[in-house]
């Protein structure tokens, strides 16, 4: 049994919150650069340049990429040979978020859903805990902004809708969202499982290195087909026209019930933030 103290977890999450909000991954930056070179729309290329400039300013000045520093979504893959000492894991996650958002001058956006009362420290985080083999602990902090989260959708398709039904739902979601989710976007798509499993797969697909295809060649092909169709629709950067509506499409699947075909599309804006550490 390897022991990990909650104090280390708090400190790690605090740092990851700030890192995620100030430093965009090189994978996303690379896709944005390629898009700017390809983009023919004058508004589109101007916007992509503004986005790229923003990434540099944010990193240099330690200012958040986006003022919507999101709801903190924390994924923990916990090795089953780890023993957590020093208190509750959930409380450690929330304390890390609390400190990270305060020390990093990040915006507190979390409130009670009906009364709309701000909790004042951006907690609670949404914690996804998965038990894995080994004695390590992998922590990923993915602050999720709601401009794009609000444009995300889930549907329980009929099995007869098949793959064409999936494609139609994904395209409709992007077209309906238009300018609202701050395109160019990255799409996380979960197909199969149950209702909540599809949503979880979609969210988790956003953590993949941007643009890296699914290892399954058929799914990789579907990702490419959807990416091309979405970009052919012409919504463009910020919805002002152009060939760059999505930077990447990430699909993950899970076996489902013979009576169903759940599909979840989690829309992520170009500020595709996630930072990771392994303890």
């Amino acid at each position: 049994m390897r022991e990990i103290d909650t104090a280390v977890i708090v400190e790690t999450i605090e740092k990851l919150c700030m890192q995620a909000c100030y430093q965009l991954g090189d994978d996303v930056k690379q896709l944005l650069k390629q898009a700017r070179e390809r983009e023919e729309s004058p508004f589109g290329s101007w916007i992509l340049q503004q986005i790229l400039d923003n990434i540099d300013v944010s990193r240099e000045q330690q200012l958040p990429l986006c003022q919507d520093t999101g709801m903190a979504v924390v994924f923990i893959e916990l090795g089953q040979d780890v023993h957590i000492t020093g208190g509750s894991l959930t409380e450690a996650v929330n304390e890390g978020v609390r400190r990270g958002y305060q020390k990093g001058y990040l915006r507190n956006s979390v409130l009670t859903p009906l009364e709309r009362k701000n909790t004042g420290d951006n907690t609670p985080a949404v914690l996804h805990l998965e038990l894995t083999d080994g004695d390590r602990m992998k922590i990923t902090v993915a602050p999720k902004g709601f401009g794009s989260e609000n444009m995300s959708r889930l549907i329980m398709l009929r099995p007869s809708d098949g793959i064409e039904g999936v494609k139609k739902f994904v395209l409709d979601t992007v077209l309906q969202a238009g300018a609202n989710p701050c395109p160019p976007v990255i799409l996380g798509i979960g197909i199969g499982g149950t209702m909540e499993k599809a949503a979880y797969l979609a969210k988790k697909a956003l953590l993949r290195e941007a643009g890296r295809p699914n290892p399954d060649p058929q799914l990789a092909e579907l990702e490419q087909e959807l990416l091309q169709k979405i970009n052919a629709a012409g919504i463009g950067p910020q919805g002002l026209g152009g060939g760059t509506t999505a930077l990447a499409v990430h699909i993950d699947t899970f076996p489902t019930h013979l009576a169903g075909l759940p599909v979840a599309v989690n829309v992520q804006c170009h500020v595709a933030r996630h930072a990771q550490a392994v303890l």
Binding site: S41, F43, W46, I47, Q50, I51, D53, N54, V57, S58, Q61, Q62, L63, P64, L65, C66, Q67, D68, T69, Y105, L106, R107, N108, S109, R116, N118, G120, G147, N150, G178, A179, N180, P181, C182, A233, G234, I235, G236, Q238, G239, L240, G241, C269, H270, V271
Partner: protein
Amino acid sequence: MIKRITTPASDEQISQLQAGDMVELTGVLFTGRDAAHKRMLEYINNALDKGQEPRDSLPIDLKNQGIYYTGPCPAPPGKIIGSCGPTTSYRMDSYTPQLLDLGLKIMIGKGQRSPEVIEAMIRNRAVYLVAVGGAAALIARCVKKAEVLAFEDLGAEAVYRLEVENLPLIVVIDSQGSNLYQTQPSQ
């Protein structure tokens, strides 16, 4: 060509802006998003119920002014403001026509607006401009002064008075109701 506008804006400045124009805005802007809009409308409707002038119920005089839909991050030490990019505008749609009727001339946000908002914009000769969503650190550099003016209890959703310099924007819906979101992607 980039058009320059200053706020508070004259009717003449507003009427010269056309959908598709790139603009640099200098002057005063008020911030306001979901919670501030909700509260302003409560004040307006209370005043109307009591037979009072709705304009007097608000902490800001909207005549010829601009509202920027943003909820800034806290300002780190030594900075005027934290990152402050635009938030999605459609959430303000149900509150907007009444604010336009009180003289609001400029709205800055991102994303689509409802037909009711566009109708009220034409009626009141107002414009809707968009800032680049997610370019929030870059936009913060255009802010030269920031102070909380009202609704401080709303935190990031409080109404700030900003003074901005050369804030880059695109006119998406002009005072004639011409809408770049509808014309541009199909071209």
